[in-house]
Symmetry: C2
Subunit: 238 residues, 2 copies
DNA sequence: TACAGAAACTTCACGCCGTATAGTCTCCTC
DNA sequence: GAGGAGACTATACGGCGTGAAGTTTCTGTA
């Protein structure tokens, strides 16, 4: 018979082991990069056999998918919190807070960033259906919120490109859209371009393609953010 | 004794084999992603033993480094050509041509793009000293040229951030700088931000983080480019 | 309390990988 | 035609993910 009852000793142990596997995997990734996530290394660290992990995760890719979900969630939590903490009355400040939180998280968790946005793990193939859907959804909502906050000021500067709703309906933004009824198609396009700016600089920085060219990425990002906010018709804070 | 004489049969065969190894490696990468670059797979394809490749490349990483150099060079050639072909008198047109060439190449060679700008191959560690120096230098020069062409129009819009030469001297841009004597530190910062914009959107697109959000990245990139050019104080062409 | 069965874990095995070492064959040069 | 350099193979080692089968440990029920 299945155990069924909640709080059973077995279930507790199982949950702890599962957590330890993930913890060790993240530790290995932090110290040795995404390549270091191997079942054998994890098992070694835990004093187990590699095959024992198959009792908790069907395949290595399954484990990686889980990790991505959790890391993605941590990112979403970070940027959401930064957004929520900034006063709602000042769109520029909120956008800057969101962007800084995003960059800060990425620099503090470069392996996590790679795991989410790069070629993560040798041979890993993201599953079709529900990979990191919730966190991706939340980050996406955050981006849309940026554009929504700026749109009243930036709209007249960016109402180009002849975008249609059909350009976005299939994607994540299509699902996020109802939450921002005042955002027209051009506003959604603006959101994506904002996302491109922020992700672009941060990605260059995390992957080290900036280090070879400038000593002070901090100042550069600050300037980018200032210009970005200005281009939205807002006055940058601090 | 070493052969010494040029045009020797042995040398010719050797050069051909070297070329074939690289050709097969690129083919494997194109069909199976960067993961597919394995010495054994290459050798299998060529009817050889994996160890035979060690006669041509010291290690697998050596082979990958060579591939990166060549792919990087192809990219540099592409964007350089696009830049040179566009009339020098119209900065906006040149910038758009460069950017479109960059995106076009990236979309046509997604694995190559990953090889250069992403986490390329499982376990691969780029060598310290002279990895892809020439092509990187050329792409960097291209970026600086973009900023240089736009600076007379964009300067007054972007002369912020209090940048110093010391922010760039150590990097690639420091070495490129003499070629653009009229570009001030803020102009170099602008170049890096331009690069961030272009790289950012293209990278999102290549890695598929855009596909989940919009159906028509083409239109989006077009719009981004238009706004970018406009933000430089230029009038976008076509 | 004894026992059946589920769950956790190990052992063994297979085929992949990079790579080190030693040996073989072929062709060029003197 | 002999010597040697260069191209390539055979074999082996350790690491990887993963499948199948076996062993131990725990747990709910009779």
């Amino acid at each position: 018979m299945t155990v069924g009852t909640t709080g059973g000793r077995r279930e507790r142990l199982r949950a702890e082991t599962t957590a330890e596997i993930k913890r060790v995997a993240l530790k290995l990734m932090a110290s040795g990069g995404p390549d270091a996530i191997t079942l054998r290394a994890i098992a070694r660290e835990m004093g187990m056999t590699a095959n024992a992990i198959y009792g908790y995760f069907a395949t290595r890719d399954d484990l990686v998918t889980t990790l991505i979900n959790e890391v993605y969630t941590a990112l979403a939590d970070t940027v959401d919190a930064a957004w929520a903490q900034a006063p709602a009355g000042r769109p520029a400040g909120r956008i800057q807070a969101w962007a800084r939180a995003f960059r800060g998280w990425a620099l503090a968790n470069p392996e996590g960033f790679r795991l989410i946005y790069g070629d993560p793990v040798p041979g890993y193939q993201a599953p079709e259906g529900g990979a990191a859907p919730d966190a991706a959804y939340r980050v996406c909502t955050g981006i849309a919120a940026l554009a929504d906050a700026a749109w009243p000021h930036a709209g007249h500067l960016h109402a180009h490109g002849d975008f249609q709703w059909s350009d976005f309906d299939d994607g994540l933004l299509g699902k996020v859209r109802p939450a921002f009824p005042d955002l027209p198609p051009a506003g959604v396009a603006l959101a994506l371009r904002l996302w491109g700016h922020l992700h672009g600089l941060v990605s260059l920085e995390v992957y080290g393609h900036l280090r070879t060219q400038t000593v002070d990425p901090d100042k550069l990002f600050q300037e980018e953010l200032t210009q970005l906010v200005r281009s939205l018709g807002l006055e940058p804070g601090d």
